[in-house]
């Protein structure tokens, strides 16, 4: 039997980790992820899990320990944020390249500098091309559910890639909300036992992880990573399907909210999607045909599916919680990729980008409403006046 608990987002992730009972967790404290590892350390101390918890001296070591443990055939998890992720950098790529199915809780926080501990997506957007699968979560419940699914996605024999599960620093990581926690036995049955195909502890079949790989084979290994990402598209949906049936949820590549008959829509990830739903309801009550699309899967990027979900609209606004500095019009990464997806699939809708919430700046319903009102105007005129808006920055 599942039960409802009042949990912070960090605690929800720690709860999932307790239920999964991974073989190894290696992590270093960094705000706003620290709570997860604190809670988890308590489970280790209490004997509620049998995990080997490795306290390391830095995030670079944390991810290195994760890679080593994964090569040894362990089910491995970690958690980090912003500068911690940045310090892992080198090994983040290695984890994906060596095909280590590590699951990371990534509590999104602004990357320095100036130093800031609050939410934006500059950390995860830096790792978007690193070879990790990336999932977004609106709230603690989704972070909990995504962590459980991430284990199955990562370890699928056709995938074998690490997965990062994102949620918004402080906004959901430290906000207590109602979370449906499933029965321990059900979660354990769902994630099953990890049976690694190649473990360096299998001494009867010696093997080498991470050898030098030059111009003669490196490229072929990168091509394999592409293939794994392609398989992940299917596997993510298969795992979601099984999860939805077992736990009564509705996960897919993205969530749509009152989108089907909408004229204009906002595309936004994580917690802001929750706020945007309230705005959608308010504007709908005024008879305005507005909707929302909340991406869940960012890597692999579901270009075709997103296009199909948006093609009927008269105007689309993307809301980006980070800036791709120096990119086309200094836009946000989500906008850049979605714009390319629409263009490549022959869909030409007026589209604009709204950068918001950097360094934890609050995003108010009234601001999201102003985005919708801009888009309703664009839908009428068919013309985008300003491609990129830095929402609520002071002049």
């Amino acid at each position: 039997m599942s039960k409802y608990e009042a949990l912070t987002g960090d605690q929800a992730v720690a709860t999932a980790m307790r239920q999964i009972n991974p073989d190894v967790v290696a992590a270093y404290p960094i705000t706003p992820q620290t709570e997860t590892v604190e809670f988890f350390a308590e489970y280790v101390a209490n004997g509620e899990v049998t995990t080997d918890f490795i306290c390391v001296e830095s995030e670079h070591s944390a991810m290195s320990a994760c890679v080593g443990a994964s090569a040894a055939g362990a089910r491995v998890m970690t958690a980090t944020s912003a500068n911690g992720l940045a310090l892992m950098w080198e090994v983040v790529y290695i984890a994906a390249s060596l095909r280590c199915p590590i699951v990371m809780s990534l509590v999104n926080r602004a990357l320095s500098g100036p130093i800031n501990i609050h939410c934006d997506h500059s950390d995860v957007m830096g790792m978007r091309d690193s070879g990790w699968i990336i999932l977004f979560s609106e709230n603690g419940q989704e972070a909990y559910d995504n962590i459980i699914q991430a284990v199955r996605i990562a370890e699928h024999p056709d995938v074998l890639l690490p997965v990062a599960v994102c949620q918004d620093g402080f906004i959901t990581s430290h906000a207590m909300e109602r979370v449906e926690v499933y029965d321990d036995a059900d979660v354990r049955a769902f994630v099953g036992t990890y049976r690694p195909k190649w473990s360096i502890l299998d001494v009867d079949n010696p093997k080498t992880y991470g050898p030098l790989d030059f111009y003669d084979y490196y490229y072929e290994h990168k091509r394999q990573q592409v293939e794994a990402m392609e398989h992940a598209r299917r596997v993510i949906l298969e795992v979601a399907d099984e999860f939805n049936r077992k736990f009564g949820r509705n996960y897919g590549l993205f969530e749509t909210y009152r989108l089907e008959d909408a004229d204009v829509a906002v595309v936004v990830t994580n917690s802001t999607a929750g706020t945007a739903k309230v705005v959608v309801d308010n504007l709908r009550a005024q008879g305005l045909k507005v909707g929302l699309l909340k991406p869940r899967v960012f890597r692999p990027f579901p270009a075709k599916e997103l296009t199909d979900a948006l093609r009927h609209l008269k105007a689309v606004a993307v809301m980006d919680r980070s800036i791709a500095f120096g990119s086309m019009n200094n836009a946000g990464p989500l906008f850049l990729e979605l714009t390319a997806a629409l263009a490549i699939h022959g869909v030409h809708i007026p589209i604009a980008d709204y950068v918001f919430g950097l360094g934890g700046r609050d995003i108010k319903p009234s601001e999201i409403e102003s985005v919708y009102r801009d888009m309703l105007r664009v839908a009428e005129t068919g013309r985008v006046e300003r491609l990129v808006t830095y929402l609520s920055v002071r002049e």
Binding site: K207, T208, E220
Partner: protein
Amino acid sequence: MAQLKGWREIPIGGLILEAGNAVEYKTGGWRAFRPVFGQAQCIHCFQCWLFCPDSSIMVDAENEKMVGFDLEHCKGCGICASVCPVNAKVIRQAGEALKRDDPRLCIRMIEEGKAE
């Protein structure tokens, strides 16, 4: 070179699934300097054999003799020349401006391509 395999035919992630196959990788081509063996001065102490990081010192185990280098794998690091002991009058190593036929040398490093 052996026929290179396609991406579907090789283990993922750069994994090497068999042990002991480094011998198949001919690393001798990386060499910028090459060790040269001066048989006459050699006291067959096996220091070079002990220290060579690439197992490239060839020995006649039965007669306990150092016999030369496996130049298909020797990377030319010069460690052998450096460890070759004083009592064999071989104390110089790579890059030292000794004449190629200096009688004090039993191992010395000379530039690849200019070997005698």
